[in-house]
Amino acid sequence: MSTVTATAPTTPVADMQTAAVLRVRGLRKAFKQREVLRGIDWDVPPGRVIGLLGRNGAGKTTLLRCLLGLSPLDAGTVELFGEPMTEPGGERMHRIGFVPQTFDLFPWMKVRAYLDFTAAFYAHWNHALAARLLGDWELDPKQKIGELSQGQRQKLAIVRAIAPEPDLLVLDEPVASLDPQARRAFMAELLALMQAPGKTVIFSTHITADLERADADITLLRDGAIQFTRPLAELRERMRRAVLTRSDGWPQAPATAGLLKATLKGDEAQLLVEDANPDSLHALAAREGATLRIETPTLEDLFVELA
């Protein structure tokens, strides 16, 4: 099996650059000798759910931590709510909700005490929402955090992040430890939160079905750079998989306009094509002596092909 890849150009999501919630320029980050982020340029408009996709080790967590000032940058700039992140800037941090990938918060504290402590520092904290979520998600306020399961801790982290009703919610694989019911409940809360104007979510996950449910814009992180940011609907509309089949196999991938990636498997050549022209694909199939099948790839298919 051999593959040929091409990268789709980065395109702006909308003409909202000036009001971007987040603007990143030339962000570089390395751990010792290993360069994880290699000059990230990224704009996140307000009012959208951004699904950050990338393979394990692509640098999603590092990117999210750099954005929030939790990890120092080697180079580049980050602007959050229109101001540079050279300093946290006080109340600006309260407009951000963050759910980290691993939740090891103060295990000696009880759930209620932890939420009360956190709420005491916030000017705006939706106590009713927090109480409702604790009840709905069966989190015992009298239990110590250290006694909660990983999934319950994740739920608590989500409650803590959502309760201040932040303008920007940054979620680093928040549903990895949740059962399907909890995942659905979480997505429902997330969508409810998004109904308020100007709320933005950056959502790193491998569960692409959740991004489809949220109708997210997809940002693909690969090789330490943002490969593209596009609305899911646009991806669905413009991406096609052309499967060419012939009995004597494929010594090399056939070339066609808009080809992003070609995968050869036995007698099949699977071509991921952007803005595919059916006529030219049929002509290609005729030229190569192959049968043609055109499919609409799912987001997971796209992730597997492009990430």
């Binding site: 941090m93 103060f106 295990p107 009360d116 402590f117």
Partner: protein, 471 residues
């Protein structure tokens, strides 16, 4: 054999300074044994003493390391128990079998008995981390020996002379090792984590394992732990209520302290002092007998006890880094330096706590030993502990990342503070209380404040770090 080697390296990796020192002790003992033909059998006695203490400390360290390693997941490793047994055999060979064999070849008198005693001490060391009740039994023996020294001496002489001494020691060793290993290899539910910054000193019975996982606790320790947790819970609720009524910088700081140092509230401090007082009183009166104590030594021990808090603080600050990201977002500081300043302000409360604790311990020591010059001791302890706690806090905030470097710093600060106490005691005697305390204040507090100011500046200059420590 690679797995066995990795297990053997465990104490060396986790407690580097101690491991290096104890291996040096073993080396010195080996050299002394080699000198027996030239210097005579008396050198073997010194070697046996070194090996006895060395094996006790080494196996205590080994037990601490293994206590963290022996968790349910580890038992899934192929041949884990067999490899553990190999490591145990190698350790025993190094500390007991080889020296005993060498002593036998050199015809050292009581070589077998010495070897058996070393094995017994090694087993007791292992029990110190897993089956602490066994250590209490040893304490009981010391108590009896303390109250009836003549009888104890006669029994000891009879045991040494008896042909049953070696088998008895070996039997006891097997029994203690079996009980310790059974406790160590038992699969239990994990204890809830405590705050990494928590005080793990005497009276808390709550030390974590070397790898940061919570230690297994007995019923009594769990009850004491629950009382401490209750006090921290109440303290947090009170602080929250006061902050809600009237938010202020001071009350905000109290809240942060209640979060970071949950067991440093007044009730918990009083409880801790009470526990320490009970244990120390028992130790001094029942075990060691008060007349054997030098008052100056007691003051230095009080300094040591007070400062024992800070190494845990250094470890805890590193361990808590990922958690502190949440605090960072919650506090929403204006600048990074503001955030660092908040942490500094929260932690500086440890200086007065340490001074007061040291004074309380010194006062207890004064009462128990009927010290002749209590005022001199108290003045000395107050001044030295203030300077020393400032220094200790400073070096743990900006000190080395690695455990080896931190171990060296801990030893340096503790020994330096104890030396300062002795020097201060002499100074107060030589110059009088007024002048002596003035000079001591100038020297120790001047040094402490100097180190603290530099460390503070450096800490504020550094950006906050939220990455988990690599080790």
């Amino acid at each position: 054999m690679r797995a066995v080697w990795q297990l053997w390296l465990l104490p060396c990796r986790q407690l580097q300074v101690g491991a290096v020192l104890l291996q040096l002790v073993w080396l010195v003992a080996a050299v002394l044994l080699a000198c027996v033909p030239a210097a005579g059998a008396w050198v073997a006695g010194a070697a046996a003493m070194l090996l006895g203490f060395g094996s006790w400390f080494w196996f205590t360290m080994l037990g601490l390391g293994l206590r963290g390693l022996c968790r349910p997941e580890s038992f899934l490793l192929p041949d884990f128990r067999r490899r553990l047994a190999w490591v145990g055999a190698l350790q025993l060979a190094q500390w007991a079998l080889l020296p005993t064999l060498a002593a036998l070849l050199l015809r050292v008198p009581h070589a077998l008995l010495g070897g058996a005693a070393i094995l017994l001490l090694a087993a007791l060391g292992l029990a110190a981390s897993t089956a602490r009740y066994l250590n209490l039994l040893v304490w009981g023996l010391f108590v009896l020996a303390g109250w009836q020294p003549g009888l104890a001496s006669q029994i000891a002489k009879a045991v040494i002379a008896s042909p049953w001494a070696v088998p008895l020691a070996l039997l006891l060793t097997i029994l203690i090792a079996r009980l310790s290993l059974r406790a160590m290899l038992r699969i239990e539910d994990r204890e809830t984590d405590s705050s990494p910054l928590e005080n793990a000193q005497l009276g808390r019975a709550r030390a974590g394992n070397l790898d940061g996982t919570p230690a297994r606790r007995g019923k009594l320790a769990r009850r004491i732990g629950a009382i401490f947790d209750g006090t921290s819970q109440r303290a947090m609720e009170q602080a929250l209520a006061r902050y809600r009524r009237k938010p202020s910088w001071h009350l905000r700081m109290v809240l942060v302290r209640r979060l970071l140092l949950p067991h440093d509230n007044p009730q918990a401090l009083a409880l801790r002092l009470l526990l320490v007082a009970a244990i120390v009183t028992f130790y001094v009166v029942a075990v060691m007998h008060r007349q054997r104590f030098n008052a100056v030594m007691v003051g230095a021990y009080a300094i040591l006890l007070g400062l024992s808090r800070f190494p845990q603080l250094g470890r805890g600050m590193r361990q808590m880094r990922p958690n502190l990201a949440d605090l960072y977002l919650t506090l929403a500081p204006r600048t990074r330096a503001d955030y660092q300043q908040t942490l500094l302000d929260a932690l500086t409360v440890l200086v007065p706590i340490t001074v007061l604790s040291t004074l309380a311990y010194t006062g207890l020591g004064i009462v128990l030993t009927h010290a002749a010059e209590p005022l001199r001791m108290l003045l000395d302890a107050a001044i030295v502990s203030a300077g020393a706690s400032l220094t200790a806090l400073a070096v743990h905030l900006i000190g080395p990342e690695g455990s080896f470097g931190r171990g060296l710093v801990d030893i340096g600060v503790t020994l330096g503070a104890m030396a300062a106490y002795w020097g201060g005691y002499w100074l107060l005697g030589a110059l009088g209380h007024a002048l002596g305390s003035g000079v001591l204040l100038l020297l120790t507090l001047g040094f402490g404040l100097g180190v603290w100011t530099s460390a503070r500046r450096e800490y504020l200059r550094r950006p906050p770090c939220f990455d988990a420590p690599l080790a």
